[in-house]
């Protein structure tokens, strides 16, 4: 294992100062909690506060989306491990501008518990707080068990839409409804080619045999739905589009936002090779792509693999997805 680190147990502590200084025009660290990152744009004209958080190792999730018109405060966890309830609690305090706070995060056991505890404390402190739990990964559980599905790259759309709604002056109820609608209309699937290694563990957290690929891989190496002989990019794209489209279902006449993300070690060039076929496949199905994002939007350390996310749009979600944002990871004019 050759990595650019100092101490394998201090990755998050060692990363944050670099991130914060490089992006000091957009974000800063909370004075009350070293694991709470706050947008410099939070605190102008009062609006609903947007909070998220999760384990580290998924750059640009989660801190990379903290900024103007997107997320106001982010709770930072250890590698692949939920932030503390206290960090979420501080996020709520920082993001609160008197109009309520929406916590928008992914469906993982640790995050659910810590958010739940933070919400209890925030409510006691008199802050109005609600949550939306992303569950866009179609491979993580069957359609009949949406509560068991994990949140993956679709969370980016949830933050984008929730943040936009708040920026438009929406009430907490409207922001929550919009973020919920965004994630309800979003589906994702991943394919894994090679595992990642958490430096403090020192060994890969799972294995994928040469010549095979794992369809439905999770963001922490959670096993997918099946292991198959490795296909070319076209074959992968066809399979991913089918899995995602069959689930909502997306169909002829739909307009979608498209997000393709590498899992960390995947060259962006290869992501565009896959994207080319995805565009063809969607055209064949009569689905038009309103806006697309291709790049490393939600990764898993140095895992090799790729995810596909589609969000079905209506007028409201289109307006949200078009909203300009300025964050360390995403700048949209």
């Amino acid at each position: 294992m050759q990595r650019i680190i100092n101490d394998p147990d201090q990755l998050v502590e060692d990363m944050l100062p670099g991130f914060l200084e490089a992006n000091k025009e957009i974000v800063h660290r909370s004075e009350a909690n070293p694991r709470t990152v706050v947008s410099n744009f939070c605190g102008g004209e009062p609006r609903v506060g947007i909070v998220t958080g999760g384990g580290s190792g998924h750059w640009p999730a989660f801190i990379g989306y903290c900024g103007q018109n997107m997320v106001d405060a982010v709770a930072v966890g250890e590698i692949f491990s939920s932030p503390t309830a206290k960090a979420f609690e501080q996020c709520v305090a920082e993001a609160d501008q008197g109009k309520g706070v929406a916590i928008l995060y992914g469906n993982y056991a640790g995050d659910n518990m810590n958010v739940k505890m933070a919400m209890r404390k925030a409510k006691k402190a008199g802050i109005e707080v609600e949550r939306v739990v992303a569950n866009d990964d179609v491979a993580s559980a069957s359609k009949d068990e949406p509560d068991k599905r994990r949140g993956v790259a679709g969370e980016v759309f949830m933050w984008k839409c929730g943040g936009a709604k708040a920026a438009m002056g929406g009430s907490l109820e409207e922001v929550i409804a919009c973020a919920q609608k965004a994630i309800d209309n979003t589906r994702s699937i991943g394919i894994g080619l090679a595992p990642c290694t958490i430096p403090s563990n020192g060994k890969p957290n799972f294995s994928i045999e040469p010549g095979t690929m794992e369809v439905g891989i999770g963001h922490h190496g959670e096993p997918g739905v099946r292991v198959e002989p490795l296909k070319d990019a076209r074959g992968m794209a066809d399979e991913m589009v089918e899995a995602v489209c069959a689930d909502v279902p997306f169909g002829e006449g739909d307009e979608v936002a498209l997000l393709i993300s590498g899992l960390g070690a995947t060259p962006v060039m290869e992501q565009y090779i896959l994207a080319a076929r995805v565009f063809d496949d969607l055209r064949d199905r009569g689905i038009s792509v309103y806006r697309s994002y291709v790049g490393n939007y939600f990764t898993s350390l140095e895992m090799n693999g790729i995810t596909l996310t589609l969000m079905r749009l209506d007028d409201e979600l289109k307006e949200c997805i078009d909203m300009p944002v300025r964050t360390p990871a995403l700048v949209q004019q």
Binding site: T84, M117, E222
Partner: protein
């Protein structure tokens, strides 16, 4: 043998818990490595060592347990922070202000803690989690108490129940937590959380008994 221990001055029980987790660190990580991230021992040790430094050595048991609970919630995160944090905070709340802790007080605190933990984690018996250690432990304690046994016997029944429950996780398929993603492949491995829960409950039993 006395039937109660004094709450005041019994912080040593909590310190012994921290020590027991510290000593189990490598074993917990090893067990976790078979089905999870392999960081359970490291995380638990981090939390309990932080707590140990914050415990008032001459203080009450309830205050010391609250220090452990608050440290786990505030500084550890993940799944284990809120789960064990809630467990210890609930026991501490129940015992707060109780001068002499006997079987009825401890039994009630244990039952409340088990309840709070299940409510937070959403885990049921058979899911291959620490609930599978704590529920048989709680039941064994209650049965012993109902049968009119003394506090020491109730505690030793709790310890035996915990051990039985912990060992039963080896044959279970994980339904919750990261190991759940392994499905059938999780069978044949002990659950790491159930293991640390056994360490905690058996240490509690031993240390309280020693002070009766």
């Amino acid at each position: 043998m006395a039937e109660t221990i004094r709450n005041e001055g019994s912080a040593g029980v909590a310190l012994a818990l921290c020590e027991a987790i510290h000593e189990s660190k490598d074993r917990l990580s090893e067990i976790d490595g078979a089905t999870g991230d392999g960081d359970h021992g490291v995380n638990m040790n981090k939390g309990f060592m932080l707590a140990k430094d914050r415990i008032d050595v001459g203080g009450s048991l309830s205050d010391a347990l609250e220090t452990i609970g608050d440290t786990l919630v505030d500084d550890i995160g993940g799944s284990m922070g809120p789960i064990y944090g809630t467990f210890f905070d609930t026991i501490a709340d129940d015992l707060d202000g109780v001068a002499e802790i006997g079987a009825p007080e401890f039994g009630e605190a244990l039952a409340d803690a088990a309840e709070a933990l299940m409510d937070l984690a959403g885990a049921k018996p058979g899911d291959k989690t620490l609930v599978d250690t704590i529920m048989p432990a709680r039941d064994a304690f209650n049965e012993a108490e109902a049968a009119g046994k003394g506090f020491a016997d109730c505690l030793s029944a709790m310890s035996e129940g915990a051990e039985r429950g912990w060992k039963s996780t080896e044959g279970m398929q994980a339904k919750l937590g990261r190991a759940a993603r392994l499905g059938e492949r999780s069978i044949g491995h002990l659950d790491a959380g159930a293991t640390s829960c056994y360490v905690i409950l058996s240490t509690l039993a031993k240390e309280i008994s020693a002070r009766l």
